[in-house]
C-alpha cells in the first residue's frame, strides 16, 4: 500500500504549468520559480511586466524562455539588417 501511495505522490509531482493561464491570473514569482526548478530548460517560463501597444498600462505576461530568446534574437537580426 505504502509504495503505491508514494508512486501516486510521485505522479502528482509530475510537471504541470503553474495555474492561471487565463490572463485573469498569472502565477506568482514563487510559483514560477518552483515550476522552473522541476522542468527541462526548454520548458522554463519567464513572467514580466509588459506594456502592450496602444496603452501605458503594464500587464504581467508569462512566456516560454526559449520563445523570449528566439524573439530577441530575431529582433536583433532584423535591426542589424536595417542598420547595414
Amino acid at each position: 500500500m505504502m509504495p503505491l501511495l508514494i508512486l501516486l505522490g510521485w505522479q502528482a509531482c509530475a510537471v504541470s504549468p503553474p495555474k492561471g493561464d487565463s490572463g485573469q491570473f498569472t502565477p506568482t514569482d514563487a510559483e514560477v520559480e518552483q515550476y522552473n526548478a522541476r522542468v527541462a530548460p526548454e520548458d522554463r517560463i519567464v513572467c514580466r511586466q509588459e506594456k502592450p501597444v496602444g496603452t501605458y498600462i503594464a500587464k504581467r505576461v508569462c512566456r516560454l524562455q526559449v520563445d523570449v530568446d528566439a524573439t530577441s534574437s530575431l529582433h536583433r537580426q532584423q535591426l542589424r539588417r536595417v542598420l547595414n
Binding site: I6, W10, C13, D29
Partner: protein, 435 residues
C-alpha cells in the same frame, strides 16, 4: 587446490599491507572495508593530502556499490567526502560530475524511502553551498542556483506526498528564502556599489547606491510570499500554533528590514511582540528575548521561544562570515563550513544600535541603506594585529543588518553592544581592496 591457494592469497593480510590498510580484510570488496576507507580518507583530509583522500574515497564508493548495489543510499557517505576532497583541490569539473551523480542517486531513493530522499537532498544542498562558497570558483553562483532549485524540488515532493500545508515544508521554504538573500547579497560586492551622500529634509545621508534591478525585486517578493506561507502553515499546525506563528511574524519583519522597508518592519515587530504577549509570554521574558540584537537573516527558523532563547548566548554577538562571495551573509551551518583553509582572523567591535526614524528613511527609498542604525563603531581587538584591517572590519560591519532591540514591541537605542566578527575563509585582506 589451486583455487584454495588463490583464495588464501587474496584473503591474507599481505594484501591489506600492500594497500596500506591497518586492518586486515578478507576481500577488497568486503562491506566493512568501505568504512575503513572512509576513516583513512578522513585522516588524509586532516593531513591536507587531498589527492590521497580523493583516491581513498573513490575506492570507498566502489566498495559500497559492490556491496549494496548501484542505486544504494549507502554510497552517499563516501560520495559526500569524495566531493569535499575534489572541492578542496578545486577540481570543479570532477566535483560537478560527482554532484550530478549524487543527485541522480538521490532521485532513485525517492520512490523507496521518502524521508531518506529528504535527508540526501539536505546533504546535497550543503555540498552545493560549499561549492558555491569557494571564492576561486568562477561558477559559484551556478551552485547557489542549483541548491535553490534542489530545495524547490524537495518542496514539490513534500507537497505531493504530505500535502501543501504540512509543517515538513517549513525548513525547506526557509532554505529558499535564505538562498534568495544570498543571491541578493551578491550585489553588495564592492565593485557593484557607488558611495554617495544624499540630502534629506535637513540631514545628509551617507550610503551606497545601486540600480534596483528586477531580480532584487523578485527575490524580495518571493521571500515575502514564502515567509507568509510559513506563517500560514505554522498557524494551522497542531504543535503550539500561536507561538510558532508569532515567531514567523518576527521573520517577516526581519525580511522587510533586510530590504530597507523599515516602516513595514517596525509594524511587524510590534505585531510579533503583541502576539507573543497575547499567548502569555511574560513581558520581562520578551524584553530579554528582544533585548539581544541578532544579525539578519537568522540561519535557522526557530518555532518556539525557548529554542530562540537557547540560541542567544551570553557575551558578544558572534558573527561568522561565510564567504567573500556573499558579503554580509553569515555561515548557514557548521556543515557548510570549510575545514581545508586557514581562518583569516577576527575582530571584537563595540557599537551603538539606533532605531532610525521611519520618516527620514522614507525620503531615501532609492538608497540601499547598509548597516541600518549602526553608530559609534569602535574596533576593540584585532587578530591578527594589523592597522589596515581596522577599515576592513568597519566596512564589513556596514554590510550587516541587525534586528533592532525592542521594548514593548518598539525599537530602542542600545549602547555598548559587542560583536565578535570572524572573517570569512578566503577573505582578501585590505591590500587587495577594490577601488
Amino acid at each position: 587446490m589451486l583455487r584454495l591457494l588463490i583464495f588464501m592469497a587474496l584473503s591474507c593480510p599481505a594484501l591489506a599491507q600492500e594497500t596500506g590498510s591497518a586492518l586486515p580484510y578478507s576481500s577488497v570488496y568486503e562491506q566493512r572495508r568501505s568504512e575503513q576507507l572512509i576513516a583513512r580518507g578522513l585522516l588524509h583530509m586532516e593531513a591536507k593530502d587531498f589527492r590521497a583522500a580523493e583516491k581513498t574515497f573513490l575506492d570507498a564508493v566502489q566498495v559500497a556499490k559492490v556491496n549494496y548495489g548501484l542505486r544504494a543510499p549507502q554510497q552517499r557517505a563516501a560520495l559526500e567526502h569524495l566531493i569535499e576532497a575534489l572541492l578542496a583541490q578545486q577540481k570543479w569539473q570532477l566535483a560537478g560530475d560527482q554532484l550530478s551523480y549524487f543527485e541522480w542517486l538521490n532521485d532513485e531513493i525517492y520512490l523507496r524511502d521518502f524521508y531518506d530522499y529528504l535527508r540526501g537532498t539536505k546533504q546535497l544542498s550543503e555540498l552545493l553551498y560549499r561549492a558555491s562558497a569557494d571564492a576561486d570558483n568562477s561558477n559559484s553562483t551556478r551552485y547557489l542556483i542549483l541548491a535553490k532549485n534542489l530545495s524547490w524540488r524537495a518542496i514539490s515532493a513534500i507537497e505531493a506526498t504530505l500535502g501543501e500545508t504540512d509543517p515538513e515544508l517549513v525548513p525547506w521554504l526557509y532554505d529558499v528564502v535564505l538562498a534568495h538573500y544570498y543571491q541578493v547579497s551578491l550585489i553588495k560586492r564592492r565593485s557593484l556599489l557607488n558611495e554617495v551622500t544624499a540630502q534629506g529634509d535637513s540631514t545628509a545621508y551617507h550610503g551606497w547606491t545601486l540600480a534596483k534591478s528586477e531580480s532584487l525585486r523578485i527575490s524580495y517578493r518571493i521571500g515575502r510570499d514564502l515567509l507568509r506561507r510559513i506563517q500560514l502553515i505554522l498557524s494551522t499546525s497542531e504543535d503550539s500554533p500561536t507561538e510558532a506563528s508569532a515567531l514567523a511574524v518576527l521573520y517577516q519583519a526581519d525580511w522587510e528590514l533586510l530590504f530597507g522597508h523599515e516602516t513595514a518592519a517596525m509594524t511587524l515587530y510590534g505585531e510579533a511582540s503583541r502576539q507573543l504577549s497575547a499567548i502569555g509570554v511574560p513581558t520581562d521574558r520578551l524584553d530579554l528575548l528582544f533585548g539581544r540584537p541578532r544579525v539578519l537573516p537568522e540561519p535557522v527558523l526557530y518555532t518556539s521561544v525557548s529554542e530562540l532563547e537557547a540560541a542567544l548566548a551570553e557575551g558578544p554577538i558572534q558573527f561568522r562570515a561565510w564567504t567573500p562571495n556573499y558579503p554580509g551573509a553569515q555561515l548557514p551551518s557548521a556543515q557548510v563550513a570549510r575545514a581545508d583553509g586557514p581562518q583569516p582572523g577576527s575582530a571584537l567591535v563595540e557599537f551603538t544600535l539606533l532605531p532610525t526614524p521611519p520618516i527620514a528613511l522614507m525620503d531615501n527609498r532609492r538608497i540601499i541603506k547598509l548597516g541600518f542604525g549602526l553608530r559609534n563603531v569602535d574596533v576593540l581587538e584585532l587578530t591578527p594585529q594589523n592597522s589596515a584591517l581596522d577599515d576592513e572590519v568597519r566596512y564589513q560591519m556596514s554590510l550587516l543588518q541587525l534586528r533592532p532591540p525592542l521594548k514593548n514591541g518598539m525599537p530602542v537605542e542600545m549602547d555598548r553592544l559587542q560583536l565578535r566578527y570572524h572573517f570569512a575563509p578566503q577573505q582578501a585582506l585590505p591590500t587587495n581592496r577594490e577601488s
